[in-house]
Symmetry: C2
Subunit: 623 residues, 2 copies
């Protein structure tokens, strides 16, 4: 991977930062956040402005360009990748390390007195605007909205915004009709005494209307906004997608409906003016509910006194708790996914020793096996197929320049997943196709102990996920080891592979309590720069736990693994496991045998079945 | 404990809430917070306004009185106590439970439109004012400062503010002179580009000047403020305490000093006008540093643009990291404290079967033994001496109405500590003087497992204490049990027994990372309402840990128990302990034998020594 040469681009950007065609007064700094106008994590090519200007294309990062500097903030997952992809014009700001300044503090430090800091008001979330503008103002600077995106002005070959056909999901997949979702939403609105709700996140629009799209790779979403009133529904969406008879039928666009369920379809680009009209027409006490992560532009459309902002929207919270149809769908999707991975690992075991399997070949093969499964739609994220030192690049994606050949001498880490019409998967397995060293086994076993500590944890109803994060680290900490990422994220149901409001991370405190029906990942790891990476990831469902006692009648929760892919026993130093941990592995593997074995049998995949049976032999106690 | 009858008092308060002598316009609600003008946790009798109006005298709670309602917010430690002490005029608001509204939400719900909510601006912290006034304003109400404290106007026999003599601490206790502390503070101020620092917390004033007082029971502090400039030192303090030659000498009040170390002594009551004068004289860019928990009144004295507010002050952070002199002092104090408790438990073992020892007698006896130790000053908090069901009242203090007799049939919980001139102690032991039931032993053992899990935890440098909280709960959670309080608090060095900025609790996120030299408590528990309470508490010192590996060269930390008092082995179900846990107990007891044994020997306390040796026999593995 050679870095992108950005000298000319930065020169060009610094020119437009002073060009009166785009800015009323020159801006001394320009912020290029990661997201799009919906604050999406995964974005369409036309929204990859930060990658365009810097070369760094990881999923998280914020660039700031001043007259003298160009700096990039990103987190531990991307330190190595960002360092590889950016040229010497850029300074890497390692978030999470003690001495790394915040963006605001850095700006205050480098800017000349009375500077103007520009940002696209459609891209920056309102909460971030508020925080930054406060710090900047108190240091004598100004955060200013720049209506025309300055990156777009210099991005001559910027791709078009996608506008792909929609998929309708029936009740067997969603469990609840969009009408009932609107009813539930309005009842939440009534509870909080708000008259309007603005849906800005793409997965929330998709979930609410039981529609899916493919405008953004890996995330089955489509560019749209919605504004829900107590008696009106407005959907802002472009293209001829609303001409599709299946979609018209699904949304009952041509039926005679009670007026409060009649969907008014409006152009995507009219959201700001429509919202401004709503804002202008509000009578006292008529509040408008928005996520505090909605864009500054949309938030400003509603006069401050009328805004009701929350970190998590009622849709986000409802979406996280999967109903029976969704849970069953997720189970089915994970069984199919396990079938594909059993095929893959069986194939890899045979092929790797020949020395012809590269990271890209392995990733493509994984996709091939997945695509053979029923209701497969696409991958749920870019496959992390990494061997040896590439495994230490936490969110690595193989490209021709970095593509290594798998061998019997290196650890192989595969983090991959798919979108099926019935569910979303995300699984990481770390394998050795030869003989792992004692040290590699030791590290793998600490990671496994952390994985089990979370997966088998029992905790009271109402516990927030961040309180479980240290369980995943304890075995590593005991030996002075750790990993620089969170332990788990919420997973959507045929939706985004990363979703809120729950998760398992030391980094958040504002996560919502875990509830039965929520689905998160459990993925501790250990990474040694330049050598190897280890991660063990299952997607797990929050379920009620039976306990001996029941303090204050609160009830307890635990996790049930949905992912059912063998954990390579060759990598385990069994002497480091407690009896409880050994039993956990054996019971997990027994379940893989039963459930995935039956499906392999049904699909006539006998060789993969033999591989599964071999890989799930019980661990025996060592003395 | 019979509740305080508050009908007349509340009637009287509601009258003054409308009396133009005290309020410009009537207030529809009046907030009575817990603290004093320094936001102290422990307060002088004259500041116990919330206890006066409600009867509830726990250490934490906020009362709000409206025309129709009187409500009290307090946390899990005090649910039972508050319910006992308050009459039916009061509604108990159980903080931490899901359905309990915040004070702001409750006010918005009960108040008539456009209400005024009054509060003493000297008592309410600025951060709380900000939060409340924002919510109230957005609901159409106003938070208004009421200069004259309305409780004081109806509290006819309010005691006088104390003004007791000061204690000076020399270098052998403090390790650093007050001059060097001022130098270090000014260097922190220079780093942040602030010109003034306002010291509002009583323990911060005491620490900064190496002085102690006894104005507040249990906390060796004195009523004072300080304002530190880059070239000036102003100390606001009343009484003739500054006439004491030892104090004058200590502060070098009569010496010829460089002007920047000359202390200007001013009346306590002049802080507001002096600070207003500072505020009025600021030139641009001259910032004033205050804690965001300083009172609203003092914060408002500085124009907003000139304020620099942080959750933790540089004094709070420096004070938390104990130097070698302080650490050695804390060690000495804990050895003396252990001697006193060995004497006490030996005595209790003989006396309890006679049926003559009440909770109060036991608490007095504990104080008697402690007072025999060198440099004993006073207790560090009200002794929690509780047997049977009283043990479930988490912050119970025995009074004649509740005083139970210790017996061989009930669990006895003693949470006690002292102020010695060389250190502060805080220790809880749970004992049975007869034969505990299997269930009592089971619960005790889960609590012990939690205690050990924290005490023996190894974690990376920079870890915040709240990330360790779940370790203390894991064994309880596994069986469906839990406790409704945090796991640990910072402990001062001959200062407040509760201090920031570190601690171990699921409730905080803004705690500062643990550093070697910090001192916290480790005190998980389990409480069964109406039956018993169990808590095992040691004060522990954060120390560097040796680990097999050292990820990113970060270094690791762990804890060293300073408390060296036997944990009753009779209460332990050894079959529930892992080998590692059993070894921890045995090594801990071995250290108690060696260190405390030697001191008991030195003090000629042979009977207590025999008790110690008996109580610290190693646990033997059960099959």
């Amino acid at each position: 991977m050679s870095p992108k040469i950005t000298t000319e681009l930065l020169k060009h950007l610094r020119q437009v930062m002073k060009n009166p065609r785009y800015v009323q007064e020159p801006v001394q700094a320009y912020i290029v956040p990661s997201g799009d106008a919906h604050q999406s994590e995964y974005i369409a090519p036309c929204d990859c402005r930060r990658a365009f200007i810097s070369g760094f294309d990881g999923s998280a990062g914020t660039a700031i360009v001043t007259e003298q500097h160009a700096a990039m903030w990103t987190d531990g997952r991307y330190f190595l990748q960002a360092a590889h992809q950016m040229d010497s014009n850029w300074t890497l700001m390692k978030m999470g390390l003690k001495d790394t300044p915040t963006q605001e503090d850095w700006l205050v430090n480098v800017l000349p007195e009375g500077s103007r800091v520009g940002v696209d008001p459609f891209i920056i979330p309102a909460d971030q605007w508020k925080r930054m503008s406060k710090v900047l103002r108190s240091a004598g600077h100004d955060l200013v909205p720049v209506k025309e995106n300055l990156i777009d002005t210099i991005w001559t070959d910027c791709p078009q915004r996608p506008c792909k056909p929609l998929i309708t999901l029936d009740l067997s997949y969603t469990g609840v009709t969009w009408r009932d979702k609107i009813v539930a939403l309005r009842s939440k609105m009534a509870e909080r005494k708000v008259m309007w709700f603005v849906v800005t996140a793409l997965d929330e629009v998709a979930w609410l209307f039981n529609l899916r799209g493919s405008d953004v790779e890996y995330n089955p979403v489509f560019f749209a906004y919605a504004v829900i009133g107590m008696n009106t529904i407005r959907l802002f969406i472009d293209g001829d997608r609303m001409m599709d008879p299946a979609v018209r039928e699904h949304l009952q666009l041509d039926s005679t409906l009670e007026p409060e369920f009649k969907i008014q379809v409006l152009p995507y680009g009219s959201i700001l003016s429509e919202l401004q009209a709503v804002g202008a027409g509000l009578s006292p006490k008529e509040k408008v509910w928005l996520s505090d992560k909605a864009s500054y532009a949309l938030t400003e459309a509603i006069p401050k006194a009328y805004r009701y902002l929350t970190p998590y929207t009622p849709i986000c919270i409802a979406k996280a708790v999967k109903n029976a149809a969704e849970t069953e769908g997720m189970r089915r999707a994970h069984i199919k996914d396990a079938v594909a991975l059993c095929e893959l690992f069986n194939w890899l075991e045979k092929e790797v020793p020949k020395g012809t399997v590269t990271e890209i070949v392995a990733a493509d093969k994984a996709e091939e096996f997945r695509s053979q499964q029923k209701d497969f739609v696409e991958l749920s994220f870019a496959t992390i197929s990494s061997t040896g030192p590439n495994g230490a690049i936490i969110h690595y994606k193989p490209v021709p320049e970095t593509n290594r050949t798998l061998s019997v001498n290196e650890i192989y880490l595969l983090d991959s997943g798919a979108q099926y019409k019935d569910g979303t998967t995300d699984v990481t397995r770390t394998m050795h196709f030869g003989t792992p060293s004692a040290y590699e086994k030791e590290c793998f076993t600490y990671v496994l102990k952390g994985h089990i500590a979370v997966s088998a944890a029992i905790f009271p109803n109402g516990t927030k996920g961040h309180l479980l994060d240290s369980f995943a680290r304890s075995a590593l900490w005991d030996c002075g080891l750790d990993y620089l990422h969170g332990t788990g994220h919420g997973v959507g149901s045929f939706l985004n592979v990363h979703e809120g409001p729950c998760g398992i991370s030391y980094k958040t405190f504002a996560d919502e309590p875990l509830e039965a029906g929520m689905i998160v990942s459990d993925e501790p790891g250990y990474y040694e720069d330049g050598s190897f990476g280890i991660r063990i990831e299952n997607v797990v469902l929050v379920i009620p736990a039976e306990t001996k006692y029941n303090f204050k009648n609160r009830g307890s929760l635990t996790f049930e693994p949905l992912t059912l892919v063998p954990i390579q026993t060759k990598m385990i130093d069994v002497s480091l496991l407690t009896e409880k941990e050994r039993n956990w592995v054996n019971e997990y593997h027994q379940k893989c045998r039963e459930v995935v074995g039956a499906e392999l049998e049904r699909q006539g995949r006998h060789e993969a079945l033999r591989w599964l049976l071999r890989e799930t032999e019980p661990l025996v106690r060592v003395q």
